[in-house]
Subunit: 181 residues, 2 copies
């Protein structure tokens, strides 16, 4: 039997999680559903979501599907039950990995490709000459290159973090801490 405090805490977290989502380009309802499932101790069905968050069937269905697409929740069938149930990934690091991978694929990759294209388009042709920082085009290219390198470095960092599973990260951090004194 869930206590009153527990219910309040749960709903507080769900609401805040939903509010924050807007800042990150995720719809409030989708984030609330995610939070609801993250805290749920057992899989919930569409009607549970509708009831607990007061959203329509359509919205619940769309948002649940989207969450499945993101890989943040999974469908679950139960023998002898026609309903579909949903379950969230509950390991915070796995969640993080999933989100970063998806965002990288959907959002970072396109911009990286665009930058590469921009650099190709503006490749200085003719005799190679010393790069002149006063040259408008050259400094523009330089900035594009800087951003590109930044993305590449972040990519490397993420790959390193995910290497060796989630347990690696806290250990990794301790080691970095030592390196940096």
């Amino acid at each position: 039997m869930p206590t009153k405090e527990m219910e309040e805490a749960r709903s507080l977290f769900i609401r805040r999680w939903g509010e924050m989502a807007a800042c990150w380009g995720v719809s409030r309802t989708m984030a609330e559903i995610h939070a609801l499932l993250y805290l749920a101790t057992e899989a919930l069905c569409t009607d549970d979501v509708m009831d607990q968050l007061s959203v329509s069937r359509g919205s619940a269905s769309m948002n649940l599907r989207e969450l499945v697409n993101w890989g943040l929740i999974t469908r679950l069938h139960r023998r002898g039950d026609r309903k579909e149930y949903f379950e969230a990934e509950t390991n915070a690091w796995t969640m993080f990995e999933t989100i970063v991978r998806e965002r990288r694929r959907r959002e970072v990759q396109p911009i990286v490709e665009t930058i590469e294209k921009c650099l190709e388009m503006t490749e200085p042709h003719g005799a190679p000459r010393k790069s002149d920082p006063n040259d408008d085009a050259e400094s523009c290219r330089q900035r594009l290159t800087d951003i590109l390198e930044f993305f590449e470095l972040m990519n490397t960092l993420f790959n390193l973090m995910m290497k060796g599973g989630h347990h690696g990260v806290p250990t990794l951090l301790k080691r970095i801490g030592k390196i940096l004194g």
Copy 2:
């Protein structure tokens, strides 16, 4: 004299940067202005922004102010000129640091505080008993704790990355790479 290719590349990058922004909860125009200033070799005034991006004076003014608030661009006055000019931070790492710091303050901090409050609200009172993973409330608290720890770890990582300036990061990555083989 900017070449035709350079102009095309510039506008391509600006548009893509703007498109990506929506995914991250930033308005397209604000991101486009940011990209425009990032690539600009000299400070631009409001009219430059209006002309080059075809936006209204009001929008340019609002978005420029917002960018100043974020600390991504700075105002610039020139002797003998009434206009205000704007200049972007052009170091990618400084930019990154600014963005992460601001987002942390605005978006991560509130959710961390909410989680802490949730945990306080649901502190088990009475005789301390063994935590029981089957207990609904206890497993809910556990998940909240997990998320909290995740945020704390990310916080530590960011602080480490920023320790010792931007040059530290590539070096750091190389070292981590060696540690992990």
